[in-house]
Amino acid sequence: MSLAFEAVVLPPAAHEMRKRVRSFLREQLAAGAFTPRCSGWTIFDRDFSRSCGQAGFIGLTWPREWGGQARSTLERYVVVEELLAAGAPVGAHWIADRQSGPQILRHGSDALKAAVLPGIVRGELFCAIGMSEPDSGSDLASVRSRGDRVDKGWRINGRKIWTSSGHLADVMIGLFRTEPADPKRRHAGLTQFAIDLHSPGITRRAIRNIAGREDFSEITFDDVFVPDTHVLGQVGDGWKLVTGELAYERSGPERFLSVFPLLVECLRAQPKADSPLVQAELGRSVAHLAALRRMAISVAAKLDAGGDPATEAALMKDLGNALEREIPERLRGLALTDPGSAQAAPYRALLAHTIVDATSYTLRGGTPEVLRGMIARGLGLR
């Protein structure tokens, strides 16, 4: 079987980094900068992201030339898991730090790097992912939004939708058709552009979701000019680029730690400690989360070594999302020592919110139906 999650030991530098993040989080909590929430990576908070930038927690692995600190992926891993476990609102810079910045570093022009990366590192410039369209969800290769050649650049037309923070972000890395669709070569003729979302011709509309939040949005492109310097990689290589980006998108701890703050709040609400059911449910969550965490560290190390863990990332995301759906459902049944206590109310509110929110985890970043197909290919079944 080709799927391998090598055991990895975190380096001493990662432990130092963990201390720094914890101390930062203690200060931020003491200052009232945030209230712990589930899915902190989807909560957009400009001020908190700027604080993260100032503290040096964004773009850690990038070269110093562009504002980074040239640290290892494992040090970055520790930073993001601590931020998520604390329920911190890191959604504004999350996508830029996780995948858009790295994508620009690997495939962008120096002009693009200079224009975008230092702002990301400061926690002041935010990114969005332009993949889905009204008629292209899981079938990403069917995108119809297009770029047409013009003098010194490209003219973009079309529509992207379900774009997380699309109405708030500054730059979108989007997949566009730059040649007419060819049913025989579905993955050909696609190109990735980094688009300034403040350009003329862009209309953005936030979409309210069933959790009552405006997280995602619809973006319309009407003759938007994008300079040649903002093409990623080679024209026509978009499919290769976008699938490379997905390993970063799918393999992080946000794919299993989104509901961790709910477990913390559950402990605060004092579940009946002598109940075997309470013990077993809490312990099962610990065991499953710990296993997923080792998988995530292993994938981070593989990315660090220049490997391509696309299938491992798909596997980890599917398993992690399933657990995130399961945990709130299973916690529902757990009795509290004092159900009417002051600690019980925030727990119950968070539980109700998380059950709704968790519905979205398997809809974004690749559905189980798509991911399991990738795993099956990894097993040699297709």
């Binding site: 079987m1 099962r284 296993a291 099956a376 297709r382």
Partner: protein, 331 residues
């Protein structure tokens, strides 16, 4: 390294063993003395003893690989019991002058008797295949053991009626070792069952194509692969932690995770095989019988989940993430 070597020995033994399609519960197999001698020559049973006692010392990663190979090939030798028992005896300063296998009988956390590895192996037989016996109760404040060595000369006598009483304060080490060993066997058995199911799905043709081309079958196997991958990741980490002198909570996590996965992997691999997998002449049951045995043996997932849950309740909200990281200093 030694894991690969042992896997090769076991694969050879498996290939040369006469087909014994006696089926699940009645699968009585005679002790494979030739294989045992080969393993003894390579020093495998003593693997976890210190080098001065013919072992490799603190070799939990090697031991885990060896026991995964056991799970994969299900040989007719009580190697898992013996490897574990050698470390327990070594910690009690007991060595053996012979290389007979050692049976372990570990009382369950709730007092249930040890279901044991295939019970018929070596029982009531005489000669060099008769085993020593070590009884263990590791669930209290200290580990209580009774050691029943065979008399040196009279191998036909069953274990002497009065055993030697041993006590150990190394509760986390002993519990961790048992959990790690069981998780290793489970993981090896899952790897084998998966390999068989993938191969079967690629060759069995229905509706004009291999069943592995149907999305429903692919997704089932993908789910089983996820369970196996999570079990392996937890196990590799636990073996590393054991070597670092931190048996808990990693070993408990590894057993809880693998035992949780075992039932699902058994169900999916049998489903993919259809009726043939439910027959005594097809080898799938060798793997799945081990999954059903070892998920229960030496503490099932309910026990370890509850144990981990008590740790979580003890460390409280501020210590929960440290527990998941394995940083807890609690037992």
């Amino acid at each position: 390294m030694i894991g690969d070597a042992v896997a090769k020995m076991l694969a050879q033994a498996e290939a040369s063993a006469p087909s014994q399609g006696s089926g699940a519960a009645t699968d009585v197999r005679r002790f494979d003395l030739a294989l045992w001698r080969t393993l003894v020559e390579s020093g495998v049973p003593r693997l976890l003893r210190p080098e001065s006692e013919g072992g490799a010392g603190n070799a939990f990663r090697d031991a885990s690989e060896v026991l995964q190979a056991i799970g994969m090939h299900a040989p007719a030798v009580p190697l898992t019991d013996t490897v574990v028992a050698h470390l327990l005896l070594s910690r009690a300063s007991i060595d053996l002058s012979d290389e007979r296998p050692i049976r372990l009988r570990v009382t369950g956390p709730d007092g249930t008797p040890d279901a044991g590895a295939p019970a018929a192996v070596a029982q009531g037989q005489s000669g060099p295949d008769l085993a020593h016996l070590l009884e263990v109760d590791p669930w209290g404040d200290e580990v209580v053991m009774t050691w029943y060595p065979l008399a040196e000369a009279s191998s036909s006598a069953a274990a002497s009626s009065s055993g030697r009483s041993l006590r150990s304060a190394e509760v986390p080490l002993v519990q961790g070792l048992l959990a790690l060993a069981a998780a290793s066997v489970l993981t090896g058995a899952m790897m084998r069952a998966m390999a068989m199911a993938i191969e079967w799905a690629g060759t069995r043709v229905q509706f004009g194509r291999p069943i592995g081309q149907f999305q429903a079958v692919q997704h089932s196997l993908a789910l089983a692969a996820e369970e196996l991958a999570a079990s392996r990741a937890a196990l590799d980490w636990a073996a590393q932690e054991m070597e670092a002198g931190r048996p808990m909570p990693a070993a408990a996590i590894a057993k809880a995770r693998a035992a949780d996965a075992a039932g699902k992997v058994a169900a999916i691999t049998h489903q993919v095989h259809g009726a043939i997998g439910f027959t005594a002449e097809f080898a799938l049951y060798r793997s799945t019988q081990q999954l059903w045995l070892w998920r229960d043996r030496w503490g099932d997932e309910h026990h370890w989940n509850a144990w981990l849950g008590r740790q979580a309740l003890a460390v409280g909200p501020d210590g929960l993430f440290d527990l998941i990281m394995g940083e807890s200093t609690l037992r």
